[in-house]
Subunit: 376 residues, 2 copies
């Protein structure tokens, strides 16, 4: 069989687990074609030939590619125009949990072109998200999609699925990165959602079609979620949630890491609170906060939260001075109020009548005091 | 009347509002005695004589002190050994809302000595605190008091009163700083609490006994709360809460500012979220987090939240490799698992039996898969 770069990568991706550092190092040194030829001839680099021998039997990457294509699945490699070069940043990042480097290639099912995802934002969190966390994921996914962002997540229970659903509700694109083959549904109950994504967005995996989800594959998958996005929001995560590994990858990639707070009385937000507390993540409360951090500088500035306008805001400078001098509790004579305000007696008398008309000052037998309304 | 520094300060404190920058500047320049003598003779500095003339009539500081003493109220001035020198930092801080500088003196009612408050922490927040915020204030106040901290707050409705009550429940000391005279109860319904503090802790104010609470006095009062404490926790605050001014004073004093997050779906935490988001405050979730920031370095280190221990934590290295290679969904033959794990077939067979005994691996007709328990 004549071997091109694509076929060699299809083969190599099945000889090691995703994020295998040794494999990545030898591909960088020798090229995928040369490395695979050597392994096939039993003359591969020390430390690789032995472990891959069993997997080499019956390998046929051309057949794998053809079968995948028949099911609407393509294999995107770094030399393709569709390759999302955001992933290349993984080659410069330190590894985590013995996993790292850019993927050898990505299996993709769905119409979204990976190099053209609009402003991709990762949204991740606990599989066992609370009602609060799932509500926030749904609403934030919707609002980000509405603002033109593509939501990248992992199609898991809880926060992931609510983020995808929010994006769909907002009429936006959404991409699921899986820890198994893109032809498989994990969890099985998310098959309808995944089929929908395969028609409207994309399902992505480093693993060849048919591969099963395994624990280590979730961890290596998380680096792809972080690297496909311009920033990551951890919507809700308990202390040891897998979402923390996606957060750590985001930090290693020097991309904005954001986390949503929640009640401190619930363990479900312990992980996000720790990320914010130690300075790893910026606190975000809404899609607007996220856009400010991941959008082009200056395009999505948020207004500082102002609270509602208050009756006091509409007063003149003199009126405010008098309001500030009015007692909150027991009434005072206007002369005492003038003294406190540092204003003339006549001026204060007139102003008090104006303030009474505006409902800000209240007249009592003993003098004047602040009306309840002015305390708002 | 012969005038000493204390009497001069009692008089001056009644000639201007708390935090009056002009007054503070002239006291620093001339001394309290000289300034008051000049004002009394009508030869005071420009810009002061006119505004104080009306207030000078009938002033008798010696009588004021004596009457106060009869009601268990003392006046503490900077030259007293009881003066809390933490307040002096206000002289170096920039002013805010045209208010600033250390108080001229403090009226105090209660047995707590201001210079000996044990590790004072300010807890502040919205008068209209939510049930969540009030619960957090109560529990945090209790736990901080239990750890030996004195809680400083403002005796207002909502977060303030729950912080004081928490401190009392924790058997600790607590100090209320008021925006009116220490003989007055504002709000009136907090009179029993204030009377309790007057017996167990202290009630403090810059304002002479009898003075009424006014809007501007709450703002100047907030600087005293911030300056009496080694750090401030904003427990819950909406966007325009008065607690934000206490937060700003804490920042100006270069002391630790902390804020408790809450649900992003509620407006009641908008102010605390903004303080954290912009980097002004550190997120805290518990008394332990607060102690780490305000306690002596190294004394109150918090453990990173770890979540509960997991079944996986107790496995050997080989067992973990096999667990990591087990499919989550559909079972796989042990030969395939060995290939994924990069281990010998015999070793994997033995390990799978051990893992089955531990409830981590599940045997199926088609091979092995991860037991549900191992996903915890």
């Amino acid at each position: 069989m004549t071997l091109d770069d694509r076929l060699a990568r299809v083969a190599l991706s099945q000889l090691g687990e995703p994020g295998d550092l040794t494999m990545a190092a030898f591909i960088a040194e020798l090229g995928a074609v040369d490395l695979f030829e050597r392994l096939r001839e039993g003359s591969g680099p020390d430390g690789m030939s032995q472990t891959v021998a069993a997997r080499l039997n019956g390998m046929d990457p051309a057949r794998d590619l053809e079968q995948a294509a028949g099911r609407g699945i393509r294999y995107v490699i770094p030399s393709d125009s569709e390759w999302p070069h955001d992933l290349d940043a993984l080659d410069a990042a330190n590894s985590l949990d013995h996993v790292g480097r850019a993927p050898i290639g990505l299996w993709v099912r769905g119409p979204a072109r990976l190099d053209q995802l609009p402003r991709p934002v990762a949204m991740v969190g606990s599989r066992s998200g609370s009602a609060y966390g799932c509500d926030v994921a749904l609403e934030m996914g919707r609002a980000l999609a509405d603002a033109g962002c593509c939501i990248v997540s992992g199609a898991a229970f809880g926060i992931d699925v609510h983020s995808h659903r929010g994006a769909l509700a907002g009429g936006g694109q959404t991409v699921a990165v899986l820890a198994c083959g893109v032809d498989r549904a994990y969890p099985a109950s998310h098959r309808p959602l995944l089929d929908h994504l395969a028609h409207e967005g994309a399902i992505v995996s480093e693993l060849a079609p048919g591969c099963a989800p395994m624990r280590q594959r979730f961890l290596s998958r998380n680096r792809v979620i972080a690297a496909l996005a311009t920033g990551t929001v951890v919507v809700e995560a308990a202390a040891r949630s897998g979402a923390i590994s996606t957060a750590n990858w985001t930090t290693r990639l020097n991309r904005p890491l954001m986390a949503v707070p929640g009640p401190v009385t619930e363990a479900t937000s312990q992980g996000t609170h720790e990320l914010i507390r130690c300075g790893a993540a910026t606190l975000v409360t809404s899609a607007a906060d996220v856009l400010e951090l991941v959008g082009p500088a200056g395009l999505f500035l948020t207004a500082a939260p102002r609270g509602r306008e208050r009756s006091r805001d509409a007063l003149s400078h003199t009126e405010r001075q008098v309001v500030d001098a009015l007692p909150v509790g027991i009434a005072a004579r206007s002369r005492a109020i003038a003294r406190t305000a540092g204003l003339g007696y006549d001026e204060v008398e007139t102003t008090l009548l104006d303030l009474e008309a505006k409902g800000m000052a209240q007249r009592e037998d003993e003098g004047w005091r602040l009306a309840a309304r002015a305390l708002d």
